[in-house]
């Protein structure tokens, strides 16, 4: 019993120690992030690597999510004679919730794992050590541009996800289900608010972008310099960032929309 308690205590201490380390890491990277403003080329490279290269999966997923949403919601709304309100419901679901959350989950799987593996492998092959010996801080040269790139990419990807999803919903609603196309767009315009809905969705995606990229670069940087260590870092990146996105989504939703409903 005592041994089990000891193990539990050790496990908890290790988790808290790692959590503290990840915050110190973020602090050091953030203080170095200002330097990347002087070298925008490094950030643009990362926006291409984590953002542009994630576009195919984000756009395809957005299209299908929008189409499925329209089908599912129509079946319920038609019972209440509210099928003409399909546009705003699809848009609100995507802009407020599914856009930021699903994009963040896909981003964690596609770009987060790649970031963790890349940085972990750089550590395992002594590339980070060699940079340090060349008096180049890897946190500024390698980690900071990736953090800023991820932070900027996710809101843009989430916006595209929602836009493609709304279009997918439109094609299904008007092409398959017979919803009036003018009603789809006009109801959407009337019911989706720039600040309450779109801005809150953007805030969510900025937070998710920050958290997913932070977890990915930290896991990569903190990985054991072995092939097994890199494999564990990528797995932990996807698992931890997915859980963090879902947990944070509840907190942000409660803060943003909790007292309206």
């Amino acid at each position: 019993m005592i041994t089990q308690l000891q193990h539990l205590g050790q496990w908890t201490l290790k988790r808290f120690e790692r959590l503290g380390r990840s915050h110190l890491f973020l602090l050091r990277v953030s203080s170095g992030s200002w330097g990347v403003l002087a070298r925008p080329g490094l950030v643009i490279q990362q926006i291409f690597a984590v953002g542009v290269l994630s576009l195919p999966i984000i756009l395809v997923a957005g299209l299908f999510v929008g189409m499925v949403l329209a089908l599912q919601l129509y079946n319920t709304m038609v019972d209440f004679g509210a099928e003409q309100s399909l546009g705003p419901v699809v848009a609100l679901s995507l802009v407020r919730e599914l856009g930021p959350v699903v994009t963040a989950l896909l981003f964690a799987g596609r770009a987060g794992s790649a970031l963790a593996a890349e940085i972990g492998l750089m550590k395992a092959t002594e590339q980070l050590s060699s940079m340090e010996m060349m008096a180049v801080d890897p946190l500024r040269r390698i980690v900071a541009p990736r953090l800023v790139g991820g932070l900027l990419s996710l809101p843009l990807l989430a916006a595209l996800f929602s836009a493609v999803g709304i279009s997918g919903g439109f094609f299904v609603a008007t092409g398959l289900l017979g919803v009036d196309s003018n009603a789809y767009w006009s109801q959407m315009q009337a019911n989706v608010d720039l600040f309450d809905d779109i801005a809150n969705g953007v805030i969510k995606s900025v937070v998710f972008g920050m958290v997913v990229t932070w977890i990915a670069v930290f896991e990569g940087y903190d990985a054991a310099p072995t092939s097994e260590g890199v494999a564990r870092a990528t797995t932990r990146t996807v698992v931890n960032s997915s859980l963090a996105v879902l947990g944070l989504d509840f907190i942000l939703t409660a803060l943003m929309f909790g007292d309206n409903e």
């Binding site: 002594e126 590339q127 010996m133 008096a135």
Partner: protein
Amino acid sequence: MLQDSPLVEIRGLHFGYSGRMIFDEVDIDIQRGKITAIMGPSGTGKTTLLRLIGGQERPVRGTIRVDGANVPGLSRKHLYQLRKKMGMLFQSGALLTDLNVFDNVAFPLREHTDLPDIMIRDLVLIKLQAVGLRGARELMPSALSGGMARRVALARAIALDPMIMMYDEPFSGQDPISMGVLVKLIRELNDALGMTTIIVSHDVNETASIADYLYLLSEGKVVEHGTPERLRQAGSEWTRQFLEGLPDGPVPFHYPAPDFVEELLQFPA
């Protein structure tokens, strides 16, 4: 005055991790302009010593002075300033895999200088010419052999004309031709550029052929030091066993175990 003192002066070095002592009261002097080799069996912390000199590890106790500055006591800013005057060749080469040969060598120049591109190009070509790989400048690291990768890494390490070059096992895993090329390059670069060189290695013949001074480490201590000739002639039995690669001697062939015949005759419980 400072010019006469050793470039690297290590005094009373204590270092260990995970409850294991790696260095115990180690004193080492690296003389300016010379090639000093640190040798010893695998696992004696030779690479760790280079990491300590470069400030990538901190000792438990003791001082490590490089050009008069105590490395463990330096702030990050001052440590990075000192590292600009140090070059290190990693065992793997540690080339940046997303950059080609040219950009790898240009990397420290682009990071630390505001030189125009045309001048960087010339400097990179000079360094690549020195290691014989000017013609390979467009290749990616994945297209290089182990020996070529090390030579590119060497060109990168000398890009900023360091005062001290540190080599971590430069000869391990090299074919005879690559080994010969590296031996020649290390000696020539040291003399031509007026550098100070530290080689960490257990390739006895190659290292002893170019080293001016040898330190032999074992079990956390400096076992012996002197010129290669002196150590070969007047070294202890352990030193001779190490330098001549004898399979048995003070370091026994067999790991400590009970008597072999007795153990064979014993009936397992």
